[in-house]
Symmetry: C2
Subunit: 472 residues, 2 copies
Amino acid sequence: MATMSFRDAMFLLAESRERPTHVGSLMLFDRPEGAGPDYLADLHRQLVSGDVEIAPLFRRRAMRGVSTLGQWAWTTDDDVDIEYHVRLSALPRPGRIRELLELVSRLHGSLLDRHRPLWEFHLIEGVEGDRFAVYSKIHHAMMDGVRAMKHLEKALSTDPDRRDMAPFWAVDPRPGRTSRPVGEKAPAPTGWLGSTREYVGGALRTAGTFAEGVGQSLNVGPALVSSAYRGLVEHELALPFEAPPTMLNVPITGARRFAAQSWPLKRIQRVRERTGTTVNDVMLAMSAGALRRYLEAHEGLPDKPLVAALPVALEDSGSGNALGAILVNLATNEPDPAERLKKIRQSGLAAKENLQGRDPMTIAALSAVVAAPIGMGLVPGASAINQGFNLIISNVPGPKDPLYWEGAKLDGIYPISVPLDGQALNITVMSYADSMEIGVTGDRRAVPHLQHLLGYLEDALVELEAVADADA
Amino acid sequence: MATMSFRDAMFLLAESRERPTHVGSLMLFDRPEGAGPDYLADLHRQLVSGDVEIAPLFRRRAMRGVSTLGQWAWTTDDDVDIEYHVRLSALPRPGRIRELLELVSRLHGSLLDRHRPLWEFHLIEGVEGDRFAVYSKIHHAMMDGVRAMKHLEKALSTDPDRRDMAPFWAVDPRPGRTSRPVGEKAPAPTGWLGSTREYVGGALRTAGTFAEGVGQSLNVGPALVSSAYRGLVEHELALPFEAPPTMLNVPITGARRFAAQSWPLKRIQRVRERTGTTVNDVMLAMSAGALRRYLEAHEGLPDKPLVAALPVALEDSGSGNALGAILVNLATNEPDPAERLKKIRQSGLAAKENLQGRDPMTIAALSAVVAAPIGMGLVPGASAINQGFNLIISNVPGPKDPLYWEGAKLDGIYPISVPLDGQALNITVMSYADSMEIGVTGDRRAVPHLQHLLGYLEDALVELEAVADADA
């Protein structure tokens, strides 16, 4: 039995029936050529047959009781009921993406069973176009979304002919992480961190360790976390922005809506090149344009600009969660898309300056303590705190090459995130081969017609392409 | 806004992620002749189209807050998101009953969203044999299982040619119940109550009102309910039996398993006639025989006999819940099936005598207060109380004639009940036309191989048929 770090445990402490704190992913696969009608059922049978060894991480079960002095700890489940975790489902006819998103929204809304290891894996048959889907779900206390996606990828292969592949629960991601010899180069930075790291250089490297220490020392409970946070905000470390209240910043209910779409990476790269910005800037500008349209359509566009929190992966800290964040002004009050992109770009640079003048511990406090999880509305009572941002926009680095699973080609992979009290909408971006995949996760009640955001994202990209053409 | 009776509210108060307190039902339908592949999708579209008026009861939403002084109350949801409540699902191939029970077990394990009216209705396509299924789910705070099944039936018809039928959420069952003029004959007693009423005569008629009063006066909280219960047990009203601890009497987890099967009513009636018992006696003997085999297979058959609590419907009390209970010795320690049936029969008669010597208020206290919900393990801390029974076996009276829905013939209808802390297994029996349908609902962990109980029920009936043949 191992005591859980506070950073992991808080995702259990803060969870409620209205706020499940698991992350998910949706993968779409082409059925291999010549696959019979029982292809997926056979695959399912093989996965639950008991031939697959379950890695220790995926046997871990959360527990607390007298023996742990009431603290959350990890224990090992020696009798994992694999048929509970690995499930076969089907879409109703005609099996369009619409039916798939409907099912995945439902699956993502239900809680994981705390009496078992905190993950599920759903094979879904009946997707039109001779495809099938996989929805997987893992508790944030086990690992954050970036790590979960990375781990899912590891279970895929670039080789279309590989078979009898080990599923993700047969592979323990931890040894590879923790056994890196001293002096060996750390893995390349990822996601928003790519640019963040430019901003802050080596400073961020020590952040994980520090944030971990902060988390541990805050073990006494949410009240202290809240006041620590207030101290940070009220004194030196005032947040750079104040986010305006919007319809997206309300308490949430227990039901979810998820929508997702792929965009050709080339279109985004073309805008980036012609406007002298980064892919991240363009993705944020797409999100900003879409949010502006959405809020206008609901007559709720505030005069002040929306603020996004961008999670960054910190150096490995022994916890499954290594999240910090930076804040970016989305300039949603700017009607001109060219100006909006410029302001977003400038805001990113300002974040750089803001971080540069500070010592590593301050950066860690700003990014790790402020933004995740307190700013995320996880801590009860923290919502009373002045809102620092309107939504979280994550960038999860994805695989560069086309991947396969048991001969089935991965057609698309979409991250599904965690709406929170006060943050009813989440946008997560993920690259895969020559696509940019965007997953939008929201509370079903607070974010009506969430799927319209997909169209608005496309509209925003078209606008940016016009800006790029004008610049050229 | 209307304050909820304590009897209804306790199902919300006691609910947790491990203990959802909704009841369910599974209906199997034959697709009408000539129905095309889109029959169910079209039906679904029609049901969620907005043309269907939602009855006030199914717009009710549970709430509590400052305005209700922290008590649970009913408020009206003026903006019901019907697509959330009425869902279309599908079975993976080959769509056997096995796949259906797997899906229904999952659906039954997830919590209803308290931000919405507490019901769901799932159309399920892809059931082999050209069939489809309906799983519906309603919170116990809204109505008990008997009432829910009755209400579902009302939305069906004996006429195979009827179309454009009002679904159950378009019909409010309450006016019919509450507007019965004084002096008009009460509806015929139902289920176990049929026999219970023989035992206690008119006494039971006033029980509902009294139990309601008890519930209301207990509004102060579970602690007082527990001590009231202890008072009852320790003083005059000691329970007639003490149930032995078994593997079924343990805390439960968040996952469920459900299994169901139909038996020809004729077989049960033949045993009843030849042994001079009642259908209820035979159903209890089947359950007892099955439980004996199951516990033997798990090396957990206690020396002392298992005790079953049999809910009885009480007179209407204005609450959606009108449950009392009697206790019956299942004689599971008796190896001889003939002797076992005899003892079960005698135990039923003893229950009659036990009730007969008491005044109506005492009967109400025994049946309503003792058995439901305190004895049901709903009240936190009540599990420390000496266990009065091992499981609940319910008898839900079903329709006598074959029923149809939009031209689809109802093939089978199975009640799905609520496993509780300390009562990990529930058996519910329901008659329909010339069948006896048995639904077995259990905790997925505490009741391994729950589906084996179906085979054991059949074995027990075969044994009883041998007893009947010997008697003849």
